[in-house]
């Protein structure tokens, strides 16, 4: 067990370093950070001042290895904008993104699982068609467009929910719906096909031959088997959502990692971008690992082999 986790941790670090190197190069190619920080009306001398304050005139390899050296001692550098350690910056904003990710995930679960199960239990019925309709249309709605429509509907016409900010839980309802809705199709489809497959399995036929029908049959035999593939997909999606959704967070002015990523990329705040990439890579791999562990916990064939 530990060997497996150690392997995954090594993979996460390897990915994190490679991707952060790629991001470092891409950012420096895409523009001059000093200009971005200085802003629109900066005179050349101001830009020079910023350039030597952050050592941006040093050659790329020197800057990268300097950053790398810091990372090895746990210091991810300070943000060019916020003038405070990047680790602290990411930590403050992590809780908004986690809350958003978890509530978005629960939106997905609340919509996708029952819909998928109902569609599987009575194939070709109107529920099945309706479920397919929801999946196909939810997949076709652009994320940012849904966000704007939500603001128009709930923010202004029927001001039930606040439109921006992240102070109270009410602020998270609309964004959670927008973020959650985007992953409903995949989860619903998986639940549906999973359950159809399980209902056709031999052991279900054995259970029916012992007189089990309807809900007891579903609960005692089908549910756990059908949920196996869904659990791993949900875990992976949670990983992506922890990465924060760039668009949802900026539309709803939620101070999460997604918005931080957008602004630090557009503003060329290199240390923040690299730290974020580090966090995303590790969270992503950790979520895959969690999916494996959950699968092992639920499925003895994997656990005991």
């Amino acid at each position: 067990m530990l060997r497996y986790i150690a392997l995954r941790a090594a993979l996460a670090l390897a990915v994190a370093f490679t991707v952060s190197l790629a991001a470092f190069l891409l950012l420096n190619v895409a523009g001059d950070p000093a200009q971005a920080i200085a802003g629109e009306d900066a005179t050349p001398d101001v830009i020079e001042a910023i350039r030597d304050r952050y050592g941006l005139d040093r050659p790329l390899p020197v800057r990268y290895f300097d950053w790398l050296g810091g990372v090895l001692q746990g210091d991810f550098g300070t943000s060019y904008y916020w003038h405070k350690p990047v680790a602290e910056l990411v930590a403050d904003r992590a809780d908004e993104t986690i809350t958003l990710a978890l509530s978005a995930l629960s939106v997905t679960i609340i919509i996708a699982l029952p819909l998928g199960a109902l569609a599987a239990l009575n194939p070709n019925s109107w529920i099945d068609r309706f479920a397919l309709g929801v999946a196909v249309s939810a997949q076709a709605v652009p994320n940012f467009w849904l966000g704007l429509i939500m603001i128009i509907l709930f923010g202004v016409m029927m001001p039930i929910f606040p439109v921006s900010g992240d102070s109270t839980w009410k602020h998270f309802v609309l964004p959670a719906f927008v973020l959650g809705a985007s992953s409903v199709p995949a989860v619903m489809r998986l639940t549906r096909t999973g359950l159809i497959e399980v209902m056709g399995a031999d052991y279900i036929r054995t259970a029916r031959s012992k007189g089990f029908r309807g809900w007891p049959l579903l609960r005692r035999h089908a549910m756990r088997n059908a949920l196996l593939p869904v659990i791993s997909v949900l875990a992976v999606q949670l990983g992506q959502k922890f990465g924060g959704s760039v668009i949802t967070e900026s539309i709803f002015a939620i101070n999460g990692l997604g918005r931080l990523a957008l602004e630090s990329i557009l503003g060329m705040d290199i240390p923040t971008v690299q730290m974020l990439i580090f966090v995303f890579a590790i969270v992503f791999v950790a979520m895959n690992l969690l999916a494996d562990i959950l699968n092992a916990a639920l499925d003895p064939r994997i656990r005991i082999g």
Partner: protein
């Protein structure tokens, strides 16, 4: 089951839909002005920032030695009561004796001297360093409330810089005990202005309270809350649901539409910012390129329908210009050659220059997409095939520094300084990459205008320089900008001609 535990946590928050809440009403009821800014406010010390948002906040939190009357451009007393040039390079300033910092401590000449000397000091790396180093030698305390500035050279804009750029800090703020801390005032600012910082959450919200023992005229409104809302759409929603009282940098269409509703009033004041095309007349990108030919540059000027752009795309007080400066700036001579909108003449000029079937022109732009597209369309109409490159500011600056840009749509706000020096120098100085004409004589002439204190002489220099720029059509000046604001109906927000918003002068109706 175990793995569904985190699901219940999320479900609780998503399910509670029912309760309707009334939006928190700002405005006169709690004497709080809620302002929105899309740029993130991260550092309150204007000595270490440059963006426009920080200039606005500095008006509220800081006081400077002098103030410039936006109407008459006349110098008014502020922290300093008077000044006198002992000789061309020595300036004596007397201070008021009743100015207090926000923490109650009394302002002394030593604080002022320290601030100027620190900014000039190598270690400061302050954004204002460039300005101060251009004219200051040293500042020394000469009396109980007087100090003397030794100037390194003759510079006409010393008082103007003192009024706009340098914010006074207590003695030893940045290098207490020898250890340099440039971010000392970034979060908990101690200054002398009409408002003091009540609470500050970087990137989210800044709360300012009226400074009761402010030496000058106390502002009418008790509290100002500045909220960071990146998305303009979201800002609108907050304004409509009463969550905001003041919005600036509002796009014209939005300002007009929301202004028409009873929920908000649209104010449009003028702005020192001007928009222009800079053309690679020197031929950095292509020595024999079309832009090196004056006729082509003149054709470009004729091709652009500037009046329509000003009226429809910028709106408010925006008007077309033909000078490489803002008409309201000192020394900006509007009698220079003008190239009125005349597509036929533009095609004729192109033909004369040997480009009957036109040429492809990569045009870079970083803001005002509608205007950039309008420019591209006007040029295409006369046969110039425009490849519009609409990129982020830092990408444009980097490409310009690498001399890859033949023409770009630039803007300049002169930092609110109503003097042609604030725009001419940076765009025609030989070292600046914004200078695409590479004309040494022109550069020297412009520099000379900043080396004399005699305003009449400066005026003549600028007239001749601007005349040359216009004749050679080094630029294609476009229009002045107009500042569009959206304010709540209960707020009275006076606008100043220099376009700098002064929230401290606002009050409830």
């Amino acid at each position: 089951m175990q793995q569904f535990r985190w699901r219940h946590l999320g479900a609780a928050s998503a399910l509670a839909l029912a309760t309707a809440i009334s939006p928190a009403f700002a405005g006169p009821s709690d004497d709080t002005l809620r302002a929105a800014m899309s740029e993130e406010i991260l550092n309150l010390d204007y000595n270490y920032t440059t963006k426009r948002e920080y200039i606005i906040l500095a008006q509220l939190t800081d006081a400077t030695l002098f103030n410039i009357d936006p109407e008459t451009q006349e110098v008014l007393p502020s922290i300093a009561t008077s000044y006198e040039f002992f000789d061309e390079t020595t300036l004596d300033v007397t201070l008021r004796d009743d100015v207090k910092f926000h923490d109650g401590s009394k302002l002394t000449p030593a604080d002022v001297a320290y601030t100027y000397n620190w900014i000039k000091d190598e270690r400061s790396e302050s954004n204002a360093a460039g300005v101060v180093r251009r004219w200051l030698d040293t500042a020394e305390v000469t009396g109980e409330n007087t100090l003397r500035f030794h100037l390194a050279s003759v510079y006409p804009l010393v008082i103007r810089d003192m009024a706009a750029r340098i914010m006074i800090r207590k003695d030893g703020t940045y290098d207490a005990g020898g250890e340099v801390d440039r971010d000392a005032m970034a979060q908990d600012l101690i200054a002398t202005g009409p408002y003091k910082v009540a609470s500050f959450e970087p990137g989210t919200e800044l709360v300012l309270e009226r400074n009761e023992d402010y030496f000058g005229e106390k502002p009418a409104i008790g509290t100002i809350v500045v909220r960071n809302i990146p998305d303009i759409g979201t800002q609108q929603a907050e304004m409509m649901s009463g969550g905001l009282d003041w919005m600036f940098k509002v796009p014209l269409d939005l300002a007009q539409s929301l202004g028409a509703t009873p929920l908000a009033t649209h104010l449009s004041g003028n702005d020192l910012r001007v928009g222009f095309l800079v053309l690679d007349s020197h031929g950095y990108t292509d020595p024999e390129g079309p832009l090196t030919n004056v006729k082509v540059r003149q054709a470009i000027n004729h091709a652009l329908n500037k009046p329509e752009m000003a009226e429809y795309l910028i709106g408010g007080s925006s008007e077309a210009i033909h000078t490489a400066c803002h008409p309201a700036q000192f020394g900006c001579d509007t009698s220079v050659t003008d190239y009125p909108y005349d597509p036929e003449k533009a095609r004729a000029l192109l033909a004369e220059a040997g480009y009957e079937d036109g040429f492809t022109l990569p045009l870079w732009a970083y803001r005002d997409k509608a205007a950039a597209e309008a420019i591209a369309a006007d040029l295409t109409a006369v046969g110039i095939d425009v490849d519009l490159r609409y990129v982020k500011l830092q990408s444009l600056n980097q490409a310009r520094a690498a001399r890859e840009i033949p023409a770009y749509f630039g803007t300049w706000g002169s930092g609110g300084t109503a003097d042609t020096a604030a725009i001419a120098r940076i765009h025609f100085d030989m070292e600046s990459d914004r200078n695409m004409s590479g004309d040494q004589a022109l550069a020297d002439e412009i520099l000379s205008a900043e080396q004399t204190v005699d305003q009449e002489e400066r005026k003549e220099i600028y007239s001749s320089a601007l005349g040359k720029i216009a004749d050679e059509a080094l630029w294609a000046p476009l229009f002045t900008y107009s500042a569009n604001y959206l304010v709540s109906p209960e707020l009275d927000f006076p606008l100043d001609p220099d376009g700098l918003p002064r929230l401290q002068n606002s009050s409830w109706k």
